[in-house]
Amino acid sequence: MTTSQFQPGIMPGRLPAEDYCHAFADTAPPLTDHAARVAADRCYFCYDAPCTTACPSGIDVPLFIRQIATGQPEAAAVTILSQNIFGGLCARVCPTETLCEGACVREVAEGKPVEIGLLQRHATDRLQAAGVHPFSRAERTDFSIAVVGAGPAGLACAHRLAMKGHEVTLYDARLKPGGLNEYGIAAYKAPGGFAAKEVAWLLQIGGITLLENWALGRNGTLADLLEDHDAVFLGMGLAGVNALTIPGAEHATPATDFIAHLRQSEDLATLPIGRRVVVIGGGMTAVDAAVQAKLLGAETSTIVYRRSQPEMPASLHEQDHAQTHGVRIVPNATPVAIRKDEVGFEVEFARTATRDGTMTLLEDTLRLKADQVFTAIGQTLGPVPEGLTITGGKIAIDATGRTGLAKVWAGGDCASGGEDLTVTASAQGRDAAEDIHAFLMGA
């Protein structure tokens, strides 16, 4: 079935079938060997390197780049993965422009940082292509740990615990492991089922038993887990989403649902998309939804953000990406109502202004016609077990991932501290595993 971009409503197959593959191809293609060598040669091997400091997982960037430059990309990958087992995915999804590359001294010198993200991908791709899992397990202990959530935090924690010789049971509410790597990020950032392959590669360490379709609260309690295991790590992410509280809010759907659906779609041509898509929000999820709507064949895709464009949580790089893919960004407009009309909806926005940090609504309004409205205005912590301290809407943890409850650690998006990024989740999972190990072995 082929419809057209201009047909009103929400329809699948707006593009010729062969166009989907191209539209969702790798957004940042890998470096060739030659390009990698040239890129690696630009690294100055800084002292106490700012890129490493800027990396939430503390990857030794100058060392791994030097290893690429000296012809050992696989060794470079080990340097990366020892700090961050999701080095492969992070090379694709990290907002490097605000992390390592933003801190690169060549950004200061020439406005052109060393291409750290692409080099990291070059190294980790080589190792994965070789089918090598470079880590092995220490002598087995008798300890067993429950890890709740098979997203980046849980998997990083599980992998590090398995390396230490412990047995891990990994409980996940979904049908597939990977968390947001599998269900959340834009398809073109990690095409070819990369997230699933990475998880399969990670699990090669052994000692990790995965239990799918198991949700805390639904299939068992924290008390059950504590009874069966010596320690528990909570890494279940943010199960809820913020909803609009305006008339007609029911006409909008969470962008995260749209993205998850897209990520699991076998054939993108069967995925319905509106002719005119409006995404309310200003973060990475808003960009991922708006861009993918456009790639699916929406005629127009508009991000509407309530504050000014420089205040958008999405990085400049992400904003550029959206705009070069034909997404329109409308800043300073907040939704006040969604009304159904004959072909779709009309979303009414109030124009806003920000004075001294406070946002005020102006008299002016903006009306956008839409066939499909997505909300990307933040995710929220789902129900959590009793006894946990909640701070800023997240489970409070200390620097090593300990919660207020004995034998319970947490990390990733559900826990306090750091940005909601794969790299942060991976680092928190790793650090909690180290602390759990120290706790158990000291006990």
Binding site: R37, Y44, C46, Y47, D48, V105, R106, A109
Partner: protein
């Protein structure tokens, strides 16, 4: 635009940029292209005796070392002298000289160490109308084992003897090309002068193994699993060549001996440096083997602009200007004091100056939490390492005038004092007699 025309031992050329005797000058085809590109002169690739031609390897004959981005820094070769028949080379030399009368054409020679062979080859070359000869006493591989090339160049007596034969049997200007594979470059230069050489050219290539194949465990370039040393050239050898040129230029015995400078010349600036240290002209090889003949355009434009800027009207005005500034260590002013100064606005905070000073030198550069680097004058011995490793060039050395307090020593900077005059010198004034500084 300054006039670059050059006269070297009576040989005229429109500029002082010649191609060295090497693969680029082996054939009429290449030499014509070189002249068309603007090269002022060519030293034709070394001719040997008549008879069965030399045989080269048919596997790789070059090896290289690289800087970042595969920038070629050093090249090594195991190629021999020309492997084409003598009469073909002679015929081509004659034709080319006829067609390019304004360009220098010198013929490099290497024949066995007997007078008859030299007598023969000189007559042949004279008949071509070539401007002069260059004696290849430097080639370090292949020919040396046959008693030629470096085997002659490493024995001053042989150099003198062969040079004398050449001057006896020919009226052509004679340049003796020197091998750097010796301990004191002045000895072969003096020998060439005694033999009557009109000039020396240096350096020929340096014995080298550029790399090892770590799968075959064999030197590269590898020929059927084996390797041998080759001759090393290119930008990496320039500092060695500059020193040897300067040694001859400031040596009392040879200070009037004209020099053709060779060794890693790549840009006008390299050429100007060789000339400032006493070379009347320069010869180039690796640079054209890396980039092609067109680089001479930059060299011509660059040297002209430089001469205009300095007010020079002839290249001869530049030759030797730096020679009086080359001295022995013991005559350096030990009271001269500088301190590293960091231009903060150009610093990109890579921290390399800090870490190399901290790890390997004098702990004289502090790095703050915000990565700002500052020089500790009380520790800085002015070694220049920070200047050398800084990627942006934002560090320089600033002189402390005589009388100002040096925070490192706690004493004022003194008036000039060299080692021969220094109180710590156990041999005192004896050292001063060892060798007088060059004028």
């Amino acid at each position: 635009m300054a006039n670059l025309s050059s006269e070297f031992i009576g040989i005229k050329s429109p500029n002082p940029f010649w191609l060295a005797s090497a693969p680029p000058t082996d054939k009429e085809y290449n030499v014509r292209r070189a002249y068309e590109a603007g090269w002022g002169g060519v030293v034709w690739k070394t001719l040997g005796m008549d008879g069965p031609p030399v045989v080269n390897v048919s596997g790789p004959r070059y090896g290289a070392i690289y800087g970042p981005d595969r920038t070629l820094l050093g090249l090594n070769n195991i190629e021999l002298i020309t492997d084409r028949p003598l009469e073909v080379n002679l015929r081509e030399i004659k034709t080319v000289k006829r067609d390019y009368p304004d360009r220098a054409l010198v013929v490099s020679l290497m024949v066995p160490c007997d007078e008859e062979s030299w007598k023969f080859i000189l007559r042949e070359v004279e008949n071509t109308g070539a401007d002069g000869v260059e004696l290849n006493f430097g080639c370090p591989h292949g020919m040396a084992e046959r008693g030629m090339g470096a085997a002659v160049g490493q024995v001053p007596e042989y150099i003198e003897m062969v040079t004398r034969w050449v001057k006896t049997h020919s009226r052509m200007p004679c340049i003796v090309k020197l091998t750097p594979n010796i301990t004191d470059i002045r000895k072969p230069a003096e020998a060439a002068q005694r033999g009557g050489a009109d000039a020396v050219s240096l350096i020929n290539t340096i014995n080298s193994i550029t790399s090892v194949d770590l799968d075959l465990f064999a030197p590269e370039p590898t020929i059927d699993g084996m390797g041998t040393h080759g001759g090393y050239c290119g930008p990496a050898v320039k500092p060695i060549a500059l020193n040897m040129v300067a040694e001859i230029a400031r040596n009392a015995e040879t200070r009037k001996l004209p020099i053709s400078g060779i060794g890693g010349v790549t840009t006008w600036r390299d050429a100007a440096e060789f000339m400032a240290l006493g070379a009347s002209n320069v010869q180039v090889c690796t640079a054209v083997m890396t980039y092609g003949f067109r680089i001479v355009e930059e060299m011509i434009a660059g040297l002209s602009a430089f001469m205009d800027q300095k007010g020079f009207t002839a290249t001869s005005e530049l030759v030797g200007l730096a020679v009086p500034k080359v001295t022995d260590w013991q005559y350096l002013n030990l009271n001269y004091t500088t301190k590293a100064v960091i231009k903060q606005e150009d610093c990109i905070k890579c921290g390399r100056c800090h870490v190399v000073c901290e790890d390997t030198s004098h702990q004289a550069i502090a790095m703050a939490a915000d990565r700002t680097v500052t020089v500790k004058d009380e520790e800085c011995v002015a070694c220049n390492l920070c200047v050398d490793v800084c990627p942006t060039g934002c560090i320089s050395m600033q002189e402390l005038p005589v009388g100002t307090l040096d925070p490192r020593t706690g004493r004022p900077v003194g008036t000039p004092l060299n080692w021969t005059e220094h109180p710590n010198n156990p041999s005192g004034s004896a050292a001063a007699c060892a060798r007088e500084p060059a004028e």
